[in-house]
Amino acid sequence: MIEFLKWLENTGFSTWIRESPSIFAFPTILLLHTVGMALCVGISAGINFRILGFAPGLRLSPMNKLFPILWLGFWMNAITGTMLVMQDATNKLTNLDFFIKMIFIALALVVLRRIRNRVLSNPQVDSTPLSSDARALAYLSLLFWIGAITCGRLLAYVSPLIEVT
């Protein structure tokens, strides 16, 4: 397993990301990861705040149209995230914090799908009061995204479980 991580970290592509002095290598990939986060979590959070009663005049059903941007952000992060993990595989994939982050993201996605299918896609969403389930989903979604961002940020500070030399 460790051999595989070492191999992954030393592929030409990983080495390029890590060691190239080009601004388009590591810095730009990390930048895209941040922008993707803003798109994905930002729009998701906006919908959650609306469900929780913020900006009550805003209709929920047109918010479905924002999902392409949300998914654009998500896939940007899936791709750039994979690159960022590859170039430091022996540290990131041995770090408990990384796996907690992945669990948070998985949970956030499950909740997001539920919000989309059960709340936003309901044709009566703007004419009937929102259920307490919808509010619970919105709270959970905020919680999971905050968890994912916190774990992601902490990856820069928390050391891995095993020291790979």
């Binding site: 930048l31 803003a38 900006a55 059903s61």
Partner: protein
């Protein structure tokens, strides 16, 4: 251009918060006595604008100190203690000013929403602006003595100019705590996390409002999108506070970092862009399925570019600049 440095920028900018806030306060109170809504609004706009301009004024102070005292060693005719005193008073005035700016923005927001400022907020803006002007005047007075020793009064002049120990102040102490020098290591990482959460809140508001202005997600009315704006402002507030904590903790990483200068310039421009949206009526009168006017679309495109630019330069601090 080599003769013009950031210390000069600090000297050019430093009168603006003091005089600007005094004028704004005058206009604001004038609006109260004449019960003129436009005068009151003008006062709020001035508070907001000057609060925005106070950001470059504050952050260029660090560069001015480094020009006067290279390598943090002050020449005999410059008092390090005076600089610390000036920095602490300036920080206090800055915090009060930005608080006033935030509530002034909120008052502008309330004005459009319910055509009046909430009573409590009227008082909050008044109180904070008065205290700000006072603190700012003290900070400016202390600042002027740094280069004008002839203004020193007798008691201060008798202080030893070059101390053996490095003088510390409130700003430096806060910085040391955030940087983890007192043994609490989690504050900086926690502030970074909050900075990212604030970024998401700010960005969602910018994107949803501006993309709707450009024609996406029709069905969302501008009148209701307007309710979303405080969320973005709250995100900015979180990022401003955490950003200032980083600045206090490691000023050396920022004061002479070109990427940081660009970021601050873009923040000022973005502030003006926000003000434009707060003041134009045509944007918010557009119905749920209508097109926004061309002028507004241009301002929306600018907003998206400005905020992505701010994110870009913030992100590039360690890569293109000298941070970390």
């Amino acid at each position: 251009m080599e003769s013009l440095n950031l210390a000069h920028a600090h000297l050019l900018l430093n009168h603006l918060p003091t005089i600007g806030f005094a004028i704004a306060l005058f206009v604001y109170i004038g609006g109260f006595f004449t019960t003129s809504d436009s005068l009151r609004k003008a006062g709020l706009v001035l508070f907001f604008l000057v609060a925005v301009m106070a950001i470059p004024t504050y952050v260029t102070g660090g560069a001015a100190e480094r020009t006067l005292c290279p390598e943090m060693k002050c020449p005999p005719d410059v008092s390090a203690q005076l600089i610390r005193n000036h920095e602490d008073l300036a920080l206090l005035a800055f915090v009060l000013m930005e608080t006033t700016g935030f509530f002034a923005w909120l008052a502008l927001w309330q004005l459009r929403k319910s055509s009046q400022i909430a009573g409590w907020n009227w008082t909050v803006v008044l109180l904070f602006s008065i205290v700000s002007v006072g603190a700012m005047a003290l900070a400016a007075g202390e600042g002027s003595e740094i280069r004008h020793p002839e203004l020193l009064d007798a008691a201060e002049a008798s202080l030893p100019v070059v101390g053996e120990s490095e003088p510390t102040g409130i700003a430096k102490s806060i910085g040391a705590v955030v940087a983890g020098n007192t043994g609490i290591g989690w504050i900086w990482p926690a502030a970074e996390t909050v900075h990212f959460i604030g970024l998401c809140m700010l960005f969602i508001t910018v994107l949803v409002v501006d993309l709707r202005l450009l024609g996406m997600a029709k069905g969302l009315s501008f009148k209701s999108l307007y309710q979303l704006l405080p969320l973005g402002m709250l995100g900015f507030l979180l990022n401003f506070i955490t950003g200032m904590l980083f600045f206090l903790a490691a000023p050396g990483q920022y004061v002479n970092n070109v990427e940081f200068h660009r970021k601050v310039v873009l923040i000022v421009l973005a502030g003006i862009n926000v003000l434009y949206f707060m003041l134009v009526d045509e944007t918010w009168a557009v119905g749920p399925d209508d097109e926004a006017p061309m002028r507004t679309k241009i301002a929306a495109v600018l907003a998206i570019f400005l905020w992505i630019g701010i994110l870009y330069y913030g992100h590039m601090l360690p890569f293109l600049g000298n941070a970390f």
